[in-house]
């Protein structure tokens, strides 16, 4: 019994010592650049984001170009017989996906205001958008 606790203790100490050697976790950003309904790019991006998030590696989401249409409120895919994956965006908070960025210029170019169907969307100028993107280790674009 005593032996076991000593063993446990030594394992514990060992893990504490080894911790600094473990490589820092890589960060992932996903760029969404397509409008939601005519192709499956947005759905694929969402699936990947949720898979990463379920392994406690929540990615950051970037919306640029026609990708900003994915964030606009009051869309209804059922009218055109498309499964509305945009509703799943509401689960981001539950999945700890908290870094959501949208390009201000892309919104302006489409005459869109900042009325999104999810909360905590951060608007960035194209320079800030580029700089924020450059802080991630890996970037996937859809």
């Amino acid at each position: 019994m005593t032996n076991l606790s000593i063993k446990e203790k030594s394992i514990k100490e060992k893990s504490v010592i080894e911790k600094p050697i473990i490589e820092k976790e890589k960060t992932l950003a996903i760029i969404n650049s397509k409008a939601p309904y005519s192709n499956i790019a947005g759905k694929d991006a969402l699936d990947i984001a949720l898979i990463f998030a379920s392994f406690e590696q929540a990615p950051a989401l970037f919306f640029q170009g026609d990708g900003v249409w994915q964030l606009i409120a009051d869309q209804n895919g059922s009218l055109i017989s498309v499964k509305d994956y945009l509703k799943t965006f509401a689960a981001f908070e539950f999945y700890d996906i908290e870094d959501i960025y949208v390009c201000q210029e892309s919104l302006n170019a489409r005459n869109l205001s900042a009325s999104f169907h999810i909360e905590k969307v951060q608007m960035l100028s194209k320079q800030a958008f580029a700089q924020q993107l450059a802080t991630y280790n890996s970037i996937l674009r859809f």
Partner: protein
């Protein structure tokens, strides 16, 4: 902290190059491959601010296959091995496709 931007689409057909250019940071590299080679002829390429210190590369075979002449004062020719090297010498890669 530089990013390698691999552009695979012609700007005459898609917005990818425009989005790529708006996402450039200083000292980034742009590599044109596949239909991205057509962008050598597109005015958008000239819109890149020279102060940004952006390097432009073109996959020579892909350009040659499309009968595109490479202006070597503007673009560096590369082969597949060079492209792989670029992916290692940069911190991250964005593929615009």
């Amino acid at each position: 902290m530089a990013t390698l931007h691999i552009v695979r689409q012609s700007a005459f057909a898609s917005n990818d190059l425009a989005q790529c250019i708006s996402s450039l940071c200083r000292k980034d590299t742009v590599a044109l491959i596949d239909d991205g080679c057509y962008n050598m002829q597109h005015s958008l390429i000239k819109s890149i601010d020279s102060k940004m210190d952006i390097q432009l590369h073109v996959l020579a075979k892909h350009a040659q296959a499309r009968a595109l002449a490479i202006n070597e004062t503007e673009f560096s020719k590369m082969n597949m091995e060079n492209l792989v090297e670029l992916t290692f010498s940069h911190d991250r890669v964005i593929t615009w496709q």
